[in-house]
Subunit: 210 residues, 2 copies
């Protein structure tokens, strides 16, 4: 039982309670050890540079810097960085973006402590892991919408309650053009009105209200 070297874990979550809870679970394992915690993306990058952990547990949906962006930057500065996304939400957009950014695993917070530990060991062993729910969402997301930059920008402003004219002003284009973009957007989302579009876009993780 001589712990030669425990694998080092970096914990990133904006909820202190979740951090200490998960830290407790992990530190109970003889082969794992939490070496640092971070409450947002910027802190996460700093902590990574200081400790170069073997694996990083990362919540998406954080203040200061978005989770997917953190994944990207971590992998930029260290292509071997192993990132496990641990979050509550499972929109197809977030899942696929996180995986594309280089996350090795995507698990939901309703996972059991045992399964989480197993997942960490799997990732340390070079495997990857997808939560069943996440896999299902991805599968249905074969029909994943590919929005153009303008469509996405229009969508975001629209979801913020802006009128076509206001959107046009902010984007520096004509309101006719906004109509064109939104028309294309509606077609891609399979809807016929803005409120419906906001609903579907929210469900898919394309926008975040509140």
């Amino acid at each position: 039982m001589a712990p030669t070297t425990r694998a080092s874990v970096l914990l990133v979550d904006d909820h202190a309670l979740m951090r200490t809870g998960v830290a407790n679970i992990i530190n109970q394992e003889a082969d794992l050890q939490v070496v640092a915690e971070a409450g947002n993306g910027v802190e996460a990058l700093e902590a990574y540079d200081r400790h170069h952990p073997d694996v990083t547990l990362l919540d998406l949906r954080m203040p200061v810097m978005e989770g997917v962006e953190v994944v990207r930057r971590l992998r930029e500065r260290d292509p071997r960085a192993r990132v496990i996304v641990l979050t509550t939400y499972d929109t197809d957009d977030e899942i696929s973006r996180a995986l594309k950014a280089g996350a090795k695993a995507y698990v939901l917070k309703d996972i059991s402590a045992d399964d989480l530990v197993t997942c960490i060991r799997d990732v340390l062993a070079g495997k990857s892991y997808l939560a069943p729910a996440a896999a299902a969402k991805l599968a249905e997301g074969v029909t994943r919408v590919q929005l153009t930059p303008r469509e996405l920008a229009s969508l975001r402003l629209m979801a913020d309650g802006k009128s076509n004219k206001e959107i046009a002003n902010e984007l520096g284009i004509s309101d006719r053009t906004v109509k064109t973009h939104l028309g294309h957007l509606f077609e891609k989302l399979g809807v016929t009105s803005r409120t419906e579009a906001v609903k579907v876009a929210t469900r898919r993780g394309l926008v975040r209200l509140a």
Copy 2:
């Protein structure tokens, strides 16, 4: 160090990970002990009946039964039930409804483990506790909107992407009347369009998208 009687705690959260994390924290305290866990509202009521815990830690936003409803039912069957709401969200609507339903405390999951334990002891001692952020939201909510049943129903359907005509059909009234309800709603929310209304209503916790 003879633990005369440790206060019993019931843990309700739909995330297994959060449950075991918090359970670890609580069980490390000599005067506290988790006696049961539940993953949704119905389980929570069953567990309460079996164990009659001294205090219940409850997440809002759960499947099967809404958290506020759980608070209400717990207090119904035992007016002395001490419920601490432990959640991630802090919309003024949820906070005030939870407190009105009889919750003794409202804390957010970004609380530290120490503060959570303190909060539990406070509640056991008969005190109550409001997270600063929650208190602030409540304060600004002096202007809390009071929607009529019809206004709320129209709002919900509208947020679901329905047109006035569709809302009218579902409610069995004229679309003119729907316009009236929505007009009043807009005035109360301080907006002039449906998408804006959806945004504000979501922020206030009046509706839940996704």
